[in-house]
């Protein structure tokens, strides 16, 4: 995997609580441009929360996030933080694509409507240009014939591919994938993974929370194992799956790979 060393996403000392629950207990992580990092771990380990903190859908209490070298979401001032304006936060989110477990397509808009919504209303692209780009992206995810369909007319796998196209339409600097195949029927998982594999090959910077161990093994440049709000171990997939060092990683891999 050719990843240039420039970091796209950098996280330092990230902490997050939900009430009394300490969900992220000091996360440090850097994802280089073009890198595909897969995060695995038991449910409740904080994987999804980490991803949601990166585009500020959850607000971490402590720590720094840099995207493409810029400190985002807040500045540090003497003794505390000063939050960025909502507009500045939205502008950062516009540069980072996110795909969700439950697709979250907009049901009142057609497939094309879903894809051009943010380019037209956030980036203020001309509608025609956005539409042309949408058709290219639909072709890329194998759904050129569904441009006029509505989300409810599509299978889960098709909806998720539209969701990927919708995120790509913003020309993001990086893509976050939050268990994007977990809600799919088993026979529909492969079509989504194929699209993601293709995206990785095109050099997209990707941070992928997943339970698909084969995908992580084949596509990831690096695999991270999280447990109880901490990164327990990280390594290239061959070593992570072949010879994990930590006993917790071994236990986890044993349970998921046995199935």
């Amino acid at each position: 995997m050719t990843a240039d060393a420039r970091p796209m996403i950098e996280i330092e000392g990230l902490h997050k609580h939900f009430g009394l629950l300490h969900v992220l207990r000091g996360i440090d992580l850097a994802v280089a441009v073009g890198e595909v990092v897969c995060i695995i771990g038991p449910s409740g380990s904080g994987k999804s929360t980490l991803l949601r903190c990166i585009n500020h859908l959850e607000v971490a209490e402590q720590g720094r996030i840099r995207i493409d070298g810029e400190l985002v979401y807040r500045d540090e001032v003497a003794g505390g933080f000063r939050a960025h304006s909502n507009r500045a936060i939205a502008a950062v989110r516009a540069q980072v694509g996110m795909v969700f477990q439950h697709f979250n397509l907009f049901p009142h808009l057609s497939v094309t409507g879903n894809i051009i919504e943010a380019p037209v209303h956030v980036l203020r692209k001309p509608k025609e240009e956005a539409r042309r780009r949408a058709l290219e992206l639909l072709a890329q995810v194998g759904l050129a014939d569904k441009a006029e369909a509505y989300p409810e007319e599509l299978s889960g796998g098709q909806q998720q591919r539209v969701a990927i196209a919708r995120a790509l339409a913003m020309d993001p600097k990086a893509m976050l994938f939050d268990e994007v195949t977990s809600a799919l029927d088993p026979e529909l998982v492969a079509e989504v993974l194929t699209v993601m594999r293709d995206l990785a090959r095109r050099g997209m910077t990707m941070l992928v929370v997943t339970h698909e161990m084969n995908f992580a093994r084949q596509v990831a440049s690096r695999v991270i194992f999280m447990d109880h709000g901490l990164i327990v171990e990280q390594d290239v997939p061959e070593r992570m799956f072949g010879a994990p060092r930590e006993s917790r990683t071994r236990d986890f891999l044993r349970t998921v790979l046995e199935r």
Binding site: A91, F106, A118, V122
Partner: protein
Amino acid sequence: MFELFNPQVAVQNVGPLLAGLLITVELTFVVITLSLVCALFVALAGMSRLAPLRWVVKAYIEVIRGTPLLLQLIYVYYVLPEIGIRLDAFTAGVLALTLNYSAYISEVYRSGIQAIARGQHDAAAALGMTHALAMRRIILPQAIRIVVPALGNYFIGLFKDTALCSAVSIQELVFTAQVHAALNFQYFTLYTVVAVMYFAVSFPAARLVNYLERVTKRGYRRRRA
């Protein structure tokens, strides 16, 4: 010969009664239009991040819900002039009904907005939309679809509630009937005609609401040729 229903009286009075019905319908449409808009602002203010704004909205809704509509009408028409606000009957009626219906409809809007899944907000935010843009383009279009049947029922209710405006001398249908009945004592005939007139409007309207309910349940699929 004594008879309850006098067709001749009915025919003689149908003209003035239809004029009253016209006022009733006018009143209904003016109040519908105003309260659809006002209620949206009330609903959004009620979900604001500013706590004092939420409290004001909450208090307004509770006061409206906790007092009779008839009293609200009387209050606007008879009490406001004592503090220097003098309104003609029609304006007072519109104001009181709009205040009342905006409170109830704002609650309908609120439930509609809150029925939209969290994931829709997340997806809009993740695409870089501001809160206002997400509301306008993603949340409200879906919420309005959800609340259409409930709104329809409120408007049929409003059509009938306008009868209370007879108490503040708006010359709508019931008021007109009262005036004429006081002259000719043909209560049975006049009020039966009035009942038929209300029913002739609200029954088809109720069928229309049922139809809209079915259409909105059908999902977002468009029928294509």
